[in-house]
């Protein structure tokens, strides 16, 4: 057999399928990138939590209470923090336009700087640059995980926001601020790939898993982020296809697919 001669001499035996999978992932990713570069866009399906954010902005306008955004305990290198800040950019822009205050607090000083820049940009874009003042909307309570949790809980108590958005990297610390959020009766929306169960316990609406990234791509309509998501979707679809094919073959009483996979 060609494969058996091939494996063992050039490819380590039993790893041919793994290598083919890696190549497939590579090719699909590159095709998606290529389409993205050519300007192709994809429509991202409706995300419940994103709709809830839009509703929340309206609710904040009705009640006159602010919207609080927490981008988590990680720094700017973390894609989750970046996705969270993208969401905050959109929220602060929309809020500035209709006169709702969008406030934030972060744990990393780099994130604080980025958040300040976002707020300033939002007020400028909304034509109200005079409303912006440094330190007015963004607060820092120290770099430690729990200092941040306690600080933001204090911020929630004093500002009584109508909506709280947790988007970024969170661990168990979120319980402290989440508990306070539910005490003041805020609608809580959250997404993280850190301690997802704690976020889901506290929040009324959640971004499950990678929905957080999808939401940030849907908001910005950035072609390259959409291309990344589309590329991943194709790989996921291939995985589902392989599973379904394997199940059908298995139901027919054969282990052919499992043997092919080397599992």
């Amino acid at each position: 057999m060609l494969t058996s001669a091939f494996t063992g001499q050039i490819i380590v035996s039993g790893k041919l399928f793994q290598l083919l999978t890696a190549l497939t992932v590579g090719i699909l990713t590159y095709i998606a990138y290529h389409y993205g570069k050519q300007g192709r866009t994809w429509e991202i399906r409706q995300l419940d939590a994103l709709e809830a954010i839009y509703d929340g902005i309206g609710r904040a306008a009705e009640t006159g209470r602010p919207i609080l955004m927490l981008p988590g305990i990680s720094n700017l290198g973390n894609p989750q923090t970046l996705a969270g800040l993208t969401l905050f950019g959109e929220i602060s822009q929309r809020s500035a336009e209709i006169g709702v205050e969008a406030i934030a607090s972060a744990s990393s000083t780099a994130v604080i700087t980025a958040t300040e820049a976002i707020v300033r940009g939002a007020y400028t874009a909304a034509g109200k640059p005079e409303l912006y003042a440094p330190g007015k909307y963004v607060r820092w309570f120290g770099g430690d995980q729990f200092a941040y949790a306690v600080g933001s809980a204090g911020q929630i108590m004093s500002t009584k926001p109508s909506v709280i958005l947790y988007a970024g990297y969170f661990l168990f610390d979120v319980i402290v601020s989440g508990d306070m959020g539910s005490r003041v009766g805020a609608v809580q929306i959250g997404g993280t790939l850190g301690s997802m169960e704690m976020i889901s316990m506290m929040c009324d609406h959640i971004f499950i898993g990678e929905e957080l990234y999808a939401a940030s791509a849907a908001i910005t309509q950035d072609k390259m982020s959409m291309a990344t998501i589309a590329g991943q979707d194709w790989v996921k679809l291939s995985a589902v296809g392989l599973m379904v094919l394997g199940i059908l073959v298995k139901m027919a009483g054969s282990d052919a697919i499992l043997n092919l996979m080397g599992m």
């Binding site: 399928f17 793994q18 999978t21 890696a22 992932v25 994809w42 429509e43 991202i44 399906r45 409706q46 120290g142 430690d144 729990f146 200092a147 306690v150 600080g151 809980a153 204090g154 168990f172 402290v176 997802m196 169960e197 704690m198 889901s200 316990m201 959640i206 499950i208 898993g209 990678e210 929905e211 999808a214 959409m226 998501i229 589309a230 979707d233 194709w234 996921k236 679809l237 995985a239 589902v240 392989l242 599973m243 379904v244 394997g246 199940i247 298995k250 139901m251 697919i257 499992l258 996979m261 599992m263």
Partner: protein, 210 residues
């Protein structure tokens, strides 16, 4: 009997400092917090010194002179904190990114992706054998996993005639995630409850001798 060991007293003070968080922000908690941060960084330095001694022992004994390269690269990585010369650190960081990503990629494909797909296929063969409880379990595993992955598709199959039937699949997938999250919360409660018990029993037992 109340303990006379000074370390037990320090430990008790630390427990009280952190439990004071229950009353909100206060100087006692701040004291605990700064103690915590200080010891975390100091401990990493102490560990770092002893690790360097161990890792570069073959270099200094002359057994492996090639280790001079990672020694230089390691020193270069410290420049990351110095804004003006931070570019020097980019070379060692490149090695860390390259090796780390390569290793995780090959492992993700074998472990996270293929072994889980294989597990689903194997389990589908077990649905029709065994007692009803385990059959139901295997059926749930297969259906929930596939629909769960389906839920996390964002750009395909959410338009056109297929949308309606597929939206039911997505709905099932969503419930798979919700049951996972709900059960994890239950388990997390168990863990934190246990940690609270151990902290309080230490306080009561060792310090106050109850």
């Amino acid at each position: 009997m109340i303990s006379t060991d000074p370390w037990v007293w320090i430990s008790a003070l630390m427990t009280i400092c952190s439990f004071s968080l229950l009353y909100g922000e206060n100087p006692l908690f701040r004291f605990g917090e700064y103690t915590y941060t200080a010891i975390v960084v100091a401990h990493s330095v102490v560990t770092g010194i002893s690790t360097l001694n161990s890792r570069f022992a073959p270099l200094f004994s002359g057994a492996k002179p090639l280790l001079i390269i990672p020694l230089i690269l390691g020193l270069m990585s410290l420049f990351v904190v110095w804004r003006r010369y931070a570019w020097i650190a980019s070379f060692p960081i490149a090695i860390m990114i390259g090796v780390g990503t390569g290793l995780s990629m090959r492992a993700l494909i074998a472990t996270e992706i293929l072994s889980n797909i294989a597990a689903v296929i194997r389990e589908s063969g077990l649905i029709l054998v065994g007692p009803p409880v385990s059959s139901l379990g295997y059926l749930i595993r297969v259906v929930f996993t596939i629909t769960g992955v389906f839920y996390l598709l964002f750009t395909v199959a959410h338009k056109g005639p297929l949308n309606k039937p597929l939206s039911y699949l997505r709905e099932i997938g969503k419930y798979a995630f919700l049951s996972y999250l709900g059960l994890s919360v239950g388990n997390a409660i168990m863990q934190h409850s246990g940690l609270a018990t151990s902290a309080i029993s230490r306080l009561l037992g060792q310090w106050l001798g109850l």
